[in-house]
């Protein structure tokens, strides 16, 4: 088990933004909260999957609601603890460790707040290895686990328990309605799992991966050198292009930010052009009429100078960006996973997923 220090938390916020692949929400407020917990003398401990007991009870904790509300109405502070207690009461068992369902963006840090308060460890894994727009897009759910029973708690201390939903879609629908009546934001504790299931279905090592990524970017910033080659080396990634955004079309559709980005190569990539489509997260990277990378592999857009992630809501014309492709975990590449998080799940009917090579694999 490893105890995280404040600089790890700063790094984690940078790393989770990178794995957010354009979505996942801004981790700023959650980062401040975790840092406050550490100042109070509490600790956040990271538990490797190999250290997790098979029979341990693991609970996923995260924020549910509108990012536009969560920047104004913040948590009371004990929502996660209360939701967790409600689940323990319902299950008649103690929770042993917490986990994030989505490492990309703010929810990658959310379990740390509750973990620090209760001195519970956070499992070094998550349910996506990146960010996705919908709740059912987790490896926990893909490999057969249900989000219910689940508990949702607001700042007043209201706790709603979802004993059973007949499908993940129903859970999503019921939870959303509840959260709207709670004023637009709440904390949810979902999907109680045993350690042995997390070892099988969780994307391993993603918290420490985010921390490594963040430290690497911070270190490169301090030394005034580019973080990009090092990110690629660490993640077995491909540096697709350095480019300037020359066109940006974006609109809201069914609650998602949907659009297209046109890129024109700069510096060593001058003369080449490319296009990225997104739905909250970046979905496809196309060059010369060919899709080179597509979801669930990670398309990451970084500021070309700082190496910090740029999210879809702050993209704009003229930004100079570096585009990287990082291979997703094999758990997201199976036929059952691709049915939920592959290109067809995003309405991209004619696109075939050609996985990027993982470490130790050769390019096809």
């Amino acid at each position: 088990m490893r105890t995280l220090n404040p600089s790890d938390i700063e790094a984690l916020a940078i790393g989770t933004a990178i794995l957010g692949t354009g979505g996942g929400g801004n981790p700023y407020i959650t980062k401040l909260r975790v840092l406050e917990e550490l100042k109070r003398g509490r600790r956040v401990q990271l538990l490797g999957l190999d250290e997790l007991e098979d029979d341990a009870l693991v609970l996923s904790i995260g924020g549910i609601g509108a990012p536009a509300v969560s920047i104004e109405k913040l948590e009371e502070g004990t929502e996660g603890v209360r939701a967790l207690r409600a689940m323990e009461e319902f299950l008649g068992a103690k929770v042993d460790a917490l986990i994030s369902a989505e490492i990309g963006g703010g929810n990658g840090l959310e379990p740390m707040v509750t973990a620090a308060a209760l001195d519970l460890p956070v499992v070094d894994a998550d349910g996506m290895g990146r960010a996705f727009p919908e709740m059912q897009m987790t490896t926990f759910s893909i490999y057969g686990h249900r989000s219910t029973p689940a508990a949702v708690c607001d700042e007043h201390g209201n706790v709603v328990l979802f004993r059973h939903a007949v499908s993940e879609l129903w859970f999503e629908r019921l939870a959303r309605a509840t959260v709207v009546s709670m004023g637009g934001t709440a904390i949810g504790a979902e999907a109680p799992m045993r350690g042995r299931y997390v070892k099988r279905a969780g994307v391993p090592g993603t918290v420490s991966q985010s921390i490594r990524l963040g430290h690497l970017v911070l270190e490169a910033n301090r030394a005034h050198r580019s973080a990009i080659p090092e990110i690629c080396a660490l993640e077995h990634g491909i540096h697709l292009i350095d480019a300037k955004i020359v066109d940006l079309k974006r609109h809201l559709q069914g609650g998602f930010s949907v659009g297209t980005l046109e890129l024109e190569g700069i510096d060593a990539h001058a003369g080449s052009s490319a296009r990225i489509d997104f739905q909250n997260e970046f979905l496809t990277f196309e060059r010369a009429g060919r899709i080179e990378v597509c979801v669930p592999d990670l398309i990451v857009i970084l500021d070309v100078d700082s190496g910090h992630a740029i999210t879809t809501d702050v993209l704009r014309y003229g930004q100079r960006v570096a585009v990287l492709a990082l291979p997703c975990h094999p758990l997201l590449r199976t036929p059952e996973a691709l049915a939920v998080v592959g290109p067809r799940a995003f309405g991209l009917e004619n696109i075939e997923f050609h996985p990027l090579p993982r470490p130790g694999e050769r390019a096809p």
Binding site: I71, K73, G77, G318
Partner: protein
């Protein structure tokens, strides 16, 4: 009638006299520790230069960076009580949690949390409890604090709890300066709270400074109204400025860009304000600076003011020409205000960007003979480097591939070539006084930023309601009805929220009646 625009900067105070849309006179004097002295010198000289009597002036507009500098230098800040209307929400993070230690200490940690916040749809989280606020007021008075910031959740949507709390606190703490967050900023709680606290802690300095400026104007025999320019390039009267000093934080770059728009007659352009040490590059849209979408950092504090989206590079008239092995770079180090002593053309030993501009024949300043023997290859490479830095800054600022004019203002604009990356460069007359001219031409405004529920209202009706309110605000600030136009209108549906909530923002501006 004539109007006078003044820019009280950190180094210089610029003043300009304008008659309608014509510049009559421009002067520049050093800023003095007591700003009134420099202001009076500038006003006296500019009236003389324009051969005007004080009774011929109908309006004085002053732009100042005094309050921004006070925060950056941690000077003149008063102890301030923070009254949060939020409970049980927002308890997870205390006020000023992300401030630098020294600034937090300067303001003190007098923190009070109470009920009285709202949800996004205007329903109370927990209703305000007047007795609780009265108790807090007693405590604040007992601590001897006379500066208070009141900050409620979703106050930009509904501000009545903040107003009621302010009324009760005023009863308990007679004479205290109270800042309500609804008057300060938009959605984004921590950022608006920080800005409100800074505002409250600056009010005593603001009152003194504004009095001093008004006094200086009066002592010059001017009997006309005095206005200050605010962040968005519009006006506020002196009394409002004394209450809301933070609304002047970004007036410097805004005035330069507005002045550049006016002087060049262009409303869609890229402005390069080239000073001695840095160049600020920003985009003009409809004659106003394009606003940044991210948070703005003031003295280490995150705020959510609408600041001009300005890209700054370390290149100006005083930048050093560095040559290391086969690489040549101009800036970011600069001789700054010592330019007129240290540059080669002024008899110094330091090769600066200004020397390069003179050697290249772009400007006639100082003594060009002192550049004899300067390697022509160095001049060529330095010019290339200057141009590539400026080109990069322009490239980052462009929003489309369409051709767009470049307007160069500021004392260092002699560095600009005649064309840059194929774009036309305009160097308007009076380019060095663009900031004072931007102050002189300021208009008045009204703005609404609110979340509407579209359950019982169409999108068009929500936009129309917001526009009507913004127009009424502008009219009450003295705008001529016929001159009011909408400059910004946007509605953003809130992702992940059913119930059809949408955030509407409308801003209007109009000419001041004087």
């Amino acid at each position: 009638m004539f109007r006078i625009g003044v820019d009280v900067g950190g180094t210089n105070t610029d003043a300009v006299v304008m008659e309608q849309r014509t510049v009559r006179a421009v002067v520049k004097v050093p800023t003095t520790p007591d700003v009134m002295v420099g202001l009076m010198q500038a006003l006296g000289q500019v009236l003389e230069a324009a051969a005007l009597g004080p009774d011929q002036v109908g309006l004085v507009v002053i732009g100042t960076t005094q309050f921004t500098n006070a925060v950056i230098e941690r000077r003149h800040l008063t102890q301030t009580a923070v009254v949060r209307l939020a409970l049980p929400a927002n308890r997870c993070l205390p006020p000023m949690v992300d401030w630098p230690e020294d600034l937090r200490a300067a303001v003190g940690e007098h923190i009070f949390e109470a009920a009285g916040g709202f949800n996004f749809d205007g329903t109370p989280i927990t209703p305000l409890a007047p007795a609780e606020i009265a108790r807090i007021g007693t405590d604040i008075r007992a601590r001897g604090i006379d500066s208070i910031a009141v900050v409620g959740v979703f106050a930009p949507v509904r501000d009545d709890a903040e107003r009621e709390a302010a009324r009760i606190l005023a009863e308990q703490c007679p004479g205290a300066g109270i800042t309500c967050s609804a008057d300060i900023g938009q959605l984004g709680f921590l950022e608006r709270e920080s800005a409100s606290i800074l505002n409250a802690s600056l009010r005593s300095l603001a009152r003194r400074t504004v009095e001093s400026l008004k006094d200086g104007v009066a002592r010059c025999g001017l009997r006309c109204p005095v206005f200050l320019s605010q962040n968005d390039g519009t006006l506020m009267d002196a009394a409002t400025a004394a209450r809301f000093p933070v609304l002047t934080f970004a007036s410097g770059p805004t005035n330069s860009m507005r002045g550049a728009a006016f002087l060049s007659g262009r409303s869609e352009a890229i402005v390069l304000d080239i000073g001695g040490t840095t160049t600020d590059v920003g985009l003009l849209q409809k004659g106003f600076p394009r606003q940044a979408s991210t948070t703005a950092d003031i003295g280490g504090v995150r705020t959510n003011f609408r600041m001009p989206d300005v890209f700054s590079i370390g290149l100006g008239g005083g930048s050093l020409v560095n040559e290391k092995e086969d690489r040549l770079h101009v800036g970011p180090r600069s001789v700054g205000y010592e330019l007129t002593r240290r540059a080669r053309v002024f008899g110094g030993e330091t090769l600066t960007a200004t020397d390069i501009a003179v050697a290249a024949g772009r400007a006639r300043i100082g003594d060009p003979a002192r550049l004899a023997g300067l390697d022509a290859d160095v001049v060529r490479r330095a010019l290339e480097n200057i141009e590539s830095q400026l080109a990069l800054a322009v490239d980052r600022t462009r929003l489309s591939a369409e051709p767009i004019p470049l307007i160069a203002v500021g004392g260092g604009s002699i560095l600009m070539p005649a064309r840059l990356v194929g774009l036309e460069v305009i160097r308007p007359p009076y380019f060095a006084a663009a900031n004072a001219i931007g102050a002189a031409i300021a208009q008045t405004s009204g703005e609404v930023d609110r979340i509407y529920s579209l359950e019982s209202l169409t999108r068009e009706a929500a936009l129309a309601a917001a526009e009507a309110e913004a127009r009424a605000q502008a009219a009450s600030s003295g705008a001529l009805q016929d001159s009011i136009v909408v400059t910004e209108r946007e509605d953003v549906p809130l992702a992940y929220l059913r119930g059809n909530a949408t955030r509407v923002r409308v801003k209007v501006v109009g000419d001041l009646q004087f």
